[in-house]
Amino acid sequence: MKRIRTVLLPPALAIVFAALLCAVALVISGDSPLTALGAMITQVGEGTTAVDIINSGAIYYVAALAVAIGFQMKLFNIGIEGQFRLAACVAAIVGGALVLPPVIHTIVIILVAAAVGALWAGIAALLKAYRGVSEVISTIMLNFIATGLIAFLIRRDTFGLLQGNNISTAPIPESGRFPGISLGSSGTIFGMVFVAALLGVGYWYMLGRTRFGFELRASGESPTAATAGGVDARRMVIIALLLSGAVAGLVGIPELVGRDFAYTLTSPQGYGFTGIAVALLGRNHPVGIALGALLWAFLDKSALALDNVGVPREIVLIMQGSVVLSVVVAYEIVRRYELAAEQRRVSAQLRAVPVPEQQEVRS
C-alpha cells in the first residue's frame, strides 16, 4: 500500500498539477480547457493516431532507456541527440550501399547504428574517464559537431543524393527493411516496436539480475562505497556511456527501416531531449519509462487535434515541460512526507516502549 503511494502518487499529482496549470493558461488566453481536453481524448480513436502514439512511444522509449542507463550511474548523457542522429545517418549510408540477404541486411543496419552511437558516446566516455571532462559539456559539444558531420556526410559530393528539393542518402533496398504489422486504415505498427520492448526487458534484467547492473547502481548510489567494494570507477564510466550510446544509436532506426528508408536533411530531431524528459517521468524504471513514453507521445499527437479546434498547439509544450518539473518536485514532496510520517511512527513506538533503544531514523 505504502509502496503504491510513494510510486504512483507523485506522477499522478504532477499530471494533475500540469493539467491545471495549462487549464489556467488556456482560460487566460480565452480558450476552453474542456474543449481542449475533449479534442485530446477523442483524437485517439481517429485515423492512425493510436498507432502513431505507439510508434512514437517506442522511439521515445528507446531514447529514454539510453538516458536511464547513464542516470543509474548519475551520468548525464545529454548527447543522445547527436548519437542517434549520427548513427541513423551512417546506418542509412551503409544500409543503402550494401547488398545482403533480407534478415541479415536489417541486422547489419541495426548493428552499425548501435556501433556508431557507442563510438560517438565513446569520445565523451574517454574524455570523462581519462581527462575528467564533464560528460554534460562534452556531449553537448558533440551534439553540435554531429550536426556538422551529418551535413557533411549527406552533401551531394559525399554520400547525398538530390531527391526533389531535399537531400537524402541512397534509399535502403527492400532486403534491409523491417516489416511492420499492418492494421489497415489504422496504420502500421513498426516492427522495431517489439525490439524496443525487448530492450526494455534486457534493461530490467541487466539492472536487477547481473553483476554489472549491480555495480552500475552501486556506483550511482555511492561511488566511494563502490570503489571500496572493488568496482573500477573508470571502467564503469566507459562501459555505461558506451552502452548508453549504443542504445541511443537505435533511436532513429524504427523510422529508418520502417518508414523513411533513407536519412534526409529533414529527418526528425529532438528525440534525445524527449528521452531525457521521459526517463525523468519514468524514474528510470522500465515500466515507468514505457508509461512516460506513451504519455509523451499522446501529448505530442494532441497538438494537431488541438489545432483543429482552434486551441494553440503550443500548450502541449507547456504541459510537457511542467509535467517533468512537477513530477520531480512531487517525488521530493512525497519523500519528505513519508520521512516525516516514518519519524512520527518511530517516535511514537519509542515512547510506548519503556527502555528506548538507540535507533537511527534518518535516511
Binding site: A25, S29, F76, I78, L127, R131, G132, V133, S134, V136, I137, S138, I140, M141, L142, N143, F144, I145, T147, G148, L149, A151, F152, R155, P223, F273, I276, A277, L280, P312, E314, I315, V316, L317, I318, M319, Q320, G321, S322, V324, L325, V328, V329, E332, I333
Partner: protein, 419 residues
C-alpha cells in the same frame, strides 16, 4: 560536475621570480596577438585580424559572455545551471515583447526580468525542493521553449503575422570611441605586419559599440569585485564551497543561493536580450539561441569558474565563430596554421621548464594539425560552422585537469543537515 579536487592544492613556497597574474594575462594576450599576426601575414588571410572580424566576434561573444556570467553566479553558490539555455530563450522573448513596444532599454529590462523568472523557478526546484540540478535545468529549458512558443502565438502572431517571429524591435545605435577608432583604422590600412593586426583588433573593440556591449564587458570586473572582494560575495561563494560550514557560521545559505540563481537567470536573460537586440537581427526568432546557453556554460568551465577566464573562453568562441562567419572555411583553415605555431611555442616552453611529457604531446599534436593543414585546402563549410564547439572540446580535453570547480557544486543541500 563531480568535485574532483576537493582539497585546494598547496601553492609551492614562493617560486623564484613569480610573475603576477595580470602580467601573465598580458603575456598570454600578447603571445596570442603575435601568433595571429604571423598567421595572417604568412597565410594571406588578412580577415583574421581585421576590424570587421573583431566587431563580429564581439557581437557573437556577447550572449555567450552573459550566459557564462550567469553560470558563474549560480555555480559559485553551488547550483549547476544547465537551464541557462531555457532562461536565455525566455530572455529573447521578454526582450522582444518589451522592446517592440517601448524601445531598446525596455528590451534589456524585459530580457532581464524574464530570465530572472526562469532563474527563480530553478531556485525553487533546486534549493527549496532539492531536485537534481541537471534535471531541473533540462526541464526549465523544455518549459522555456514551450512558454515562449505559446506566448508568441498569442501575442506576436496578431502583430507580425508569424508565430515564430516578433515584430521588428528597434536596436541601440552603435557608436565608436573617437578619435581612437579612426586613428586605428588608418594604421590598419597601412598593412604593416603586427602593427596593423593589433590596430585591426583594437579597432574592432572600440567601434560599433552598443550600450549592451559596454554593459557586458563591465559586468566581468563587476562580478569579480562583487564575488571576490565583498563580504556578500564571500558568503555567496562559501555556500558553494561548503554550505554546512557556512550555515554554522550564521550565513543564510538558502537566501544566498536564491539570490545567486535568480541573478544567474537575469544574466542569461540579458544574453537573450543581446541576441534580440543584435544589429542585423529583426527581433525574437524561434530557435535564435541555438544552444548558446550551453556554450556559455562551457565557456565558464573553460575559464575555471573565474570571470576573467570565462571572458577568455567566450572571446575564443566568439572569435572563431566570427572568423568562420565573415571569412569562411579558408580562414578557419588558416587558424590550423596558427594552432601549429601555438603547439610549437608551447613545446618550447615546456622543454625550457624540463617538462618532457607535455612537450612531446604538444609537438605531436602540432605535427598532426600541420599535417591536416597541408592535406586539405579548406575546412568544409559544415565543419567550419562548428569550429568553436570543436575548439572548446579540445581545450577542455587538454586543460580540464587543472580546473577547480566550487567544492559543493551540484550537491543537494538541506537546511540544518549539519546539525
Amino acid at each position: 560536475m563531480t568535485a574532483t579536487a576537493a582539497r585546494p592544492t598547496v601553492s609551492p613556497p614562493a617560486s623564484r621570480r613569480r610573475v603576477p597574474g595580470w602580467a601573465r594575462t598580458m603575456l598570454v594576450v600578447a603571445a596570442g596577438l603575435v601568433i595571429l599576426s604571423v598567421t595572417a601575414t604568412l597565410t594571406g588571410q588578412l580577415q583574421l585580424t581585421s576590424r570587421g572580424t573583431t566587431q563580429a566576434a564581439v557581437l557573437l561573444l556577447l550572449p555567450i559572455l552573459f550566459a557564462g556570467l550567469g553560470g558563474l553566479w549560480a555555480e559559485r553558490a553551488g547550483v549547476v545551471n544547465i537551464g541557462l539555455e531555457g532562461m536565455m530563450i525566455l530572455g529573447t522573448w521578454g526582450a522582444a515583447w518589451a522592446g517592440y513596444q517601448w524601445g531598446p532599454w525596455a528590451a534589456v529590462l524585459g530580457g532581464l526580468i524574464f530570465g530572472a523568472l526562469g532563474g527563480l523557478l530553478h531556485a525553487v526546484a533546486t534549493v527549496t525542493f532539492t531536485v537534481n540540478h541537471i534535471v531541473s535545468g533540462v526541464a526549465i529549458t523544455l518549459l522555456g521553449l514551450g512558454v515562449t512558443k505559446y506566448l508568441s502565438t498569442l501575442l506576436f502572431l496578431p502583430v507580425s503575422q508569424n508565430p515564430r517571429q516578433s515584430p521588428r524591435v528597434e536596436g541601440f545605435d552603435t557608436y565608436s570611441v573617437q578619435p581612437l577608432s579612426d586613428g586605428l583604422a588608418a594604421v590598419e590600412a597601412e598593412q604593416r605586419v603586427l602593427l596593423s593586426d593589433v590596430a585591426g583588433i583594437l579597432g574592432g573593440l572600440v567601434s560599433g559599440l552598443t550600450p549592451l556591449v559596454v554593459l557586458g564587458f563591465a559586468l566581468v570586473p563587476i562580478s569579480y569585485l562583487v564575488l571576490w572582494r565583498t563580504r556578500f560575495g564571500l558568503r555567496l561563494r562559501s555556500t558553494g564551497e561548503n554550505p554546512v560550514a557556512a550555515e554554522s557560521l550564521g550565513v543564510a545559505v538558502v537566501t544566498y543561493k536564491y539570490i545567486a540563481v535568480v541573478a544567474s537567470g537575469a544574466l542569461a536573460g540579458l544574453g537573450g536580450a543581446a541576441l534580440t537586440l543584435n544589429p542585423g537581427q529583426l527581433g525574437y526568432l524561434e530557435g535564435q539561441t541555438g544552444g548558446r546557453g550551453y556554450i556559455g556554460l562551457a565557456a565558464m568551465i573553460f575559464g575555471n569558474w573565474r570571470p576573467g577566464g570565462l571572458l577568455a573562453g567566450s572571446a575564443l568562441f566568439g572569435y572563431v565563430d566570427g572568423v568562420q562567419l565573415r571569412a569562411g572555411g579558408e580562414a578557419v583553415h588558416a587558424l590550423l596554421y596558427g594552432a601549429t605555431i601555438l603547439a610549437a611555442a608551447l613545446a618550447v616552453l615546456w622543454v625550457a621548464r624540463r617538462q618532457w611529457r607535455p612537450a612531446v604531446v604538444a609537438l605531436v599534436a602540432g605535427a598532426v594539425v600541420y599535417g591536416l593543414y597541408q592535406t586539405i585546402d579548406t575546412v568544409p563549410r559544415e565543419f567550419a560552422a562548428y569550429a568553436p564547439q570543436l575548439v572548446t572540446l579540445l581545450v577542455l580535453a587538454v586543460a580540464s585537469q587543472r580546473l577547480r570547480p566550487p567544492a559543493a557544486v551540484g550537491e543537494e543541500y538541506r537546511k540544518g543537515e549539519g546539525d
